[in-house]
Assembly symmetry: C2
Homo-oligomer: 337 residues x 2
């Protein structure tokens, strides 16, 4: 019998989640049955979408029920196997959630190859966030050489990949990030053409200066005041893949007026804009193999750089998650369990 | 020397246009020069987009200047020709605006074939509105057999074509129109599967009943309370081509709150919606020839029906136009000059 240290959803947050919305528990796991494996979780991915799972509101995926283990992608080691396809010591990508151990069907996990990189990259640049950037930018954003691509949270796992892939495709990449340290990283380490600090009081003017030819692709992952500054700069036929709106995830009601929707539609019409929401799973069947091939090569050659923000200890997951929603992480946030 | 009776833009309307925003004038035209023709305008098209041209606000096309002739598509007869390509008596499609006569370059007009239909159809079902429906629905809406297509202003020139083409492609067409007479026409004459009256106090519930499987394509041309009822019924992966927002053309400021934009984006994301503004000119190079072939055949076979609301006398154009913005026309509004 193995005990799993688990973090459960204790209550649905109203607005910003707090420690009280999580509960720690130790649960004895059943023995793995035929075709199953016992996993020891090594890394847990923390991602903005999880805020949505904490709410009861209808969305593209069912919410986590109160009293259930918080969901999440994980990299885990096989501790014992009752499956022919996996052996003790194998590392796998699983969706085991916020806990230290799990029993999973072997068919529900994917064995990781040893590619010389930290296995945690399977949760970041080579995993869901990297694929979100790759599929959203190439399939929906469709940047042409010379066009201007803007992305916010540019030091984060999605934004950093968006800008670097845009440059590999010949576009001009302008990043938006919060604070001088992240901005320096985006421009100097990641090689974006320009970076703009959204915390700067002159943010709007600085964005205008950084996008003298307007914006052809805005990869939307934040919303809020960043969206307000970006929107008027969109060019005719601009494309806006929407993969997230983290600035609004803690909203408890619609903001005060005026109602910006009619003005939004007026520009959608007069500029022939394309606004397209997406969840990366839509493109897994058609693009994931290409992504693994391209992204692995780019990471190995150094053409795509990535940064991880590794927090040690499962107990720290709630705090790290709450901080991420405020932009406190610097790079892909993973918990070393 | 020929005098042209003209209607000029006298002032930029604030909100609803009034008679005072237009001015009547008689202007002596120059003699046609080599390569030019003198035209007698027979039909003037009145369309919602003209409200945008009356405003100074930046849009996809330059505004009409105060003191200039109001712009508009026209069908005209060649009264005299100094061009080899056109002869007296020819009927042409031109963009001569709100006036009785015009001198145009022969290269700037298109000679109309005698297709056995009223030449005014070149301004409606076989012209810009019909093409807006055809290109927007087929290229952006992409209805699949069995899907539900919803369109408002369903008795109008764009909406009526959208629904009928949707049915020809195997989709289910649900129209929205104002008042029992238009609704009866949409369902019984045009053959839409369902029609819903947006003036009915039970509009929202009726729309829900008419779209039991949700909405896969919403062809947006009105906005306002129709949009509010349609939006929650959009299915995952729904497509929304946006060709107009007539309910908002007379807006003088952003409506009061709450701000609906964050909720809009939340659904765009969770349902992977596509919102795409367009102006039909975008698709002229790639689709207009197909449109003329298909639509002419459909009209001749009776598969696509159309209705014109012909108002006699250029002097009545301002009133007819003001009424159109309130939905008073019934079918494609044309002025018989």
């Amino acid at each position: 019998m193995t005990d799993s240290q688990q973090i459960l959803l204790a209550s649905r947050p109203s607005g910003e989640p707090t420690q009280q919305d999580f509960r720690f528990e130790s649960t004895a796991l059943p023995e793995p049955q035929e075709g199953e494996v016992l996993l020891g979780v090594k890394y847990l991915s923390l991602d903005p979408y999880m805020r949505g799972r904490m709410s009861a509101a209808k969305s593209y995926a069912a919410p986590v029920e109160v009293g259930d283990v918080m969901e999440g992608g994980t990299v885990a080691e096989v501790l014992s196997s009752k499956s022919d396809s996996l052996s003790e010591g194998d590392l796998v990508l699983s969706y085991s959630g916020w806990q230290s151990h799990a029993v999973e069907k072997a068919s529900a996990v994917r064995k990781l190859d040893d590619n010389g990189l930290s296995p945690s990259t399977a949760l970041g640049v080579l995993g869901m966030p990297g694929f979100t950037a790759y599929a959203g930018l190439l399939e929906l954003g469709k940047p042409k050489p010379g066009e201007t691509v803007v992305v916010a949270a540019a030091s984060g796992p999605v934004g950093s990949a968006v800008g670097q892939i845009a440059r590999l495709k010949g576009a001009r990449a302008v990043g938006i990030a919060g604070g001088p340290e992240k901005c320096r990283y985006v421009k100097e380490e990641l090689g974006f053409d320009e970076v703009v600090d959204h915390r700067d009081p002159d943010f709007e003017a600085n964005l205008a200066a950084a996008t003298p030819d307007g914006i052809d692709v805005y990869f939307e992952n934040v919303g809020g005041h960043v969206w307000d500054a970006v929107f008027p700069r969109l060019n005719t036929f601009a494309r806006v893949p929407v993969c997230g709106r983290i600035a609004h995830y803690n909203d408890t009601s619609a903001p005060e007026g005026p109602d910006k929707l009619p003005r939004f539609f007026s520009d959608v019409l007069s500029k022939s804009l394309t606004i397209r929401g997406f969840i990366q799973t839509e493109f897994v069947p058609t693009m994931f193999a290409d992504f693994r091939r391209d992204m692995s090569a780019w990471v190995r050659s150094g053409e795509v750089k990535y940064r991880e923000d590794v927090v040690k200890g499962l107990d720290n997951a709630p705090d790290a998650f709450i901080g991420m929603l405020k932009g406190k992480n610097f790079g892909k946030l993973v918990i070393e369990v």
